[in-house]
């Protein structure tokens, strides 16, 4: 019952939120929503202990796939977004064969190389990828009405509602996976792969599963992005964006589901709203870099550790003294 009230309040808050923001802030809100899915899907991969540097390129695979499919085959945009996720998952499945011969640092670098190759392929093959200039005039979401509300996708607010619903469903699925025996097995693979294997866990299969699922959701986030901004190019998915994803995850912390999302929200607000409003356009990367360094030095377990400290104290306060120790 208490949970239900919290969810209703959250939904109401999200419905009201874009209406109190400026136009440019509404745009930031749409990007933030898409990035939340990106970083949450990234966390699913990190559950198995592997850190990829190709995640943003996989997001781009979803974006290119959906943009091209809707343009060439006339597939409706919502189905295109789904297809984008599926194509990204399939590409990840293909990549998993070479990449999961490696672990740790080698996987990190290998995923980076694989991603850069994909990006260079987009650059080199003007047909169908549009070369360096990328794809333009990507089909927008068609407007529609649900009776009480008219979705007009030239408005960021409408796209925010649409994206929030898609992202919400995706997050729910990611959450269900993490809290399931499959999620527990991901943890097991991370912490003690030998013991997991001795319990009958096929390590390669589970690493691949996490990579494919994470990539599928990254693909959906890419497709959401493509149909919003209408134009994508290889540089929309370069390593700088990847660095942002990495920092969201690390500043937020990756031991909880909400950690990376928290990192994404806080850093985005800081970067896009606070620093921009202060007129620090050119020094933004400088301050961002400083924040990154300071947070890794003084908050190695991420923002989530602060939240945890707070919630634990509350729990401890409720306990009887002899249990509280």
């Amino acid at each position: 019952m208490r949970n239900l009230i919290i969810w209703i309040a959250l939904a109401a808050g999200l419905i009201v939120l874009p209406n109190v923001l400026s136009f440019s802030q509404q745009e930031v809100l749409v990007f933030l929503t898409i990035n939340i899915l990106l970083v949450a899907s990234y966390r699913l991969l990190t559950l198995t202990g592997e850190w990829s540097l190709g995640h943003v390129v996989i997001m781009g695979v979803g974006a290119y796939a959906s943009a091209l499919l809707t343009k060439t085959t006339g597939l409706p945009v919502p189905l295109g977004i789904l297809a984008g996720g599926m194509v990204a998952a399939l590409i990840a499945l293909a990549l998993s064969y070479p990449l999961f011969r490696m672990k740790g640092f080698y996987f990190l670098i290998g995923s980076f190389a694989a991603g850069e190759i994909i990006r260079l392929l987009w650059k080199r093959f003007r047909d169908p990828f549009g070369g360096t200039k990328g794809l333009k005039g990507i089909d927008p979401m068609p407007d529609f009405s649900v009776g009480f509300y008219n979705f007009d996708f030239f408005e960021p607010t409408s796209y925010f509602y649409f994206a929030a619903i898609v992202v919400g469903v995706c997050l729910w699925i990611l959450w269900r996976i993490e809290k399931s025996p499959v999620g527990l097995t991901f943890h097991a693979v991370h912490w003690q792969d030998k013991l997991a294997q001795a319990s009958g866990v096929n390590l390669r299969a589970y690493r691949t599963l996490a990579f494919v699922i994470a990539s599928g959701f990254a693909g959906i986030s890419g497709a959401l992005l493509a149909h919003y901004i209408g134009t994508i190019n290889p540089n929309s998915f370069d390593v700088e964006v990847m660095v942002f994803v990495l920092t969201w995850a690390i500043v937020g912390g990756t031991s909880t589901f909400y950690g990376p999302i928290l990192g994404c929200v806080v850093l985005t607000i800081l970067n896009e709203v606070v620093l921009r409003e202060l007129g620090l356009e050119q020094t933004r990367p400088l301050i961002y870099g400083l924040i990154l360094i300071l947070s890794i030095l003084f908050m190695p377990n991420g923002l989530e550790s602060i939240v945890q400290k707070f919630t634990r104290r509350k729990e401890a306060g409720l306990m009887r003294p002899e249990e509280a120790k």
């Binding site: 670098i109 190389a113 990367p285």
Partner: protein, 289 residues
């Protein structure tokens, strides 16, 4: 045809020279500190901007500016060691992230100090050694080649023939055992960071008049350096040099006979194949996986 091959070969030797300076520094840092320094490309960039500031803007003699570049970037390395890598010694992923933060700061400082425009640097010398009409080596490139050979030879001598070098290699192999032997891990870390960063700065400074200097030039350098250290075997200095030569030749020839993007793809594919077939690198020893 022969002349084209010879000219492309010369270009490759030049490319191999500065790439190996950068890659050897990266390997040295990785070996001793255990962190992947993502800011290494920006250290190269910083070296270039020292030349912009001193040689192009203030007319300091070129080689003085280059030496200043080496020292300045070496000091940046010491700063990174003290401020980032030492506190994060037990957290390699943290070290990597901190180096990304440092990268962003260096880039932003370059933008603030010099703007995002390409820097125009007056040529150091117009002299060209002409082997024939079509086979020519600009002397400015020769400087880079000579500097790389000299510095790498000095480093080799330092590592293999001096006590400091021995300590450095010992702590790269096993920091704890080295500490038990009375080797100061902090001191070896400082030396490795100064040399590693300094080499990147030197390469950036020497090549500054030959490339387009801008705040974002570090990206392609770091990608190249990663390819090279993987192909060469992470942790192997000799491997890094050999792999630099292999990479420079492959890349230069593919660029000349096909195109630059295909050359980049070839380089990355080369690295991916090495990773798949022999993750310890072509020249890395098998037991240092």
């Amino acid at each position: 045809m022969f002349e084209l091959l010879a000219q492309t070969g010369l270009n490759a030797v030049y490319a191999a020279s500065y790439i190996s300076l950068v890659a050897v520094g990266l390997v040295l840092i990785f070996g001793v500190m255990g962190v992947v320094n993502f800011a290494h490309g920006e250290l190269f960039m910083a070296g270039s901007y020292v030349v912009v500031a001193l040689y192009a803007d203030r007319f300091v003699p070129f080689f003085v500016a280059v030496a200043a570049g080496l020292v300045f970037v070496g000091l940046l390395g010491l700063l990174m060691e003290r401020a980032l890598f030492r506190p994060l010694r037990d957290n390699p992923l943290g070290g990597l992230v901190a180096s990304i933060g440092f990268l962003m700061i260096l880039q932003a400082l370059a933008v603030l100090g010099f703007g995002v425009r390409m820097e125009h640097i007056p040529p150091v010398t117009q002299e060209v050694i002409a082997f024939s009409d079509r086979v020519r080596l600009p002397v400015a490139r020769l400087y880079v080649i000579v500097a790389a050979i000299v510095m790498l030879s000095l480093l080799w001598y330092f590592l293999k023939r001096t006590r400091f070098g021995w300590a450095l290699r010992a702590s790269a192999q096993d920091p704890q055992a080295a500490a038990l032997q009375g080797i100061s891990v902090t001191l070896t870390a400082k030396i490795a960071m100064f040399i590693g960063a300094g080499f990147a700065g030197l390469a950036g400074a020497l090549t500054a008049p030959l490339v387009s200097v801008n705040p974002y030039m570090g990206h392609s350098i770091i990608v190249t350096a990663f390819i090279v250290i993987i192909v060469g075997g992470v942790g192997s200095l000799e491997g890094a040099v050999l792999a630099s030569i292999v990479y420079a030749f492959v890349h230069t020839f593919v660029t000349t006979f096909y195109d630059g993007v295909l050359a980049d793809i070839t380089g990355l594919a080369l690295m991916l194949i090495v990773l798949i077939v022999k993750p310890t690198g072509l020249f890395g020893s098998a037991d240092r996986a």
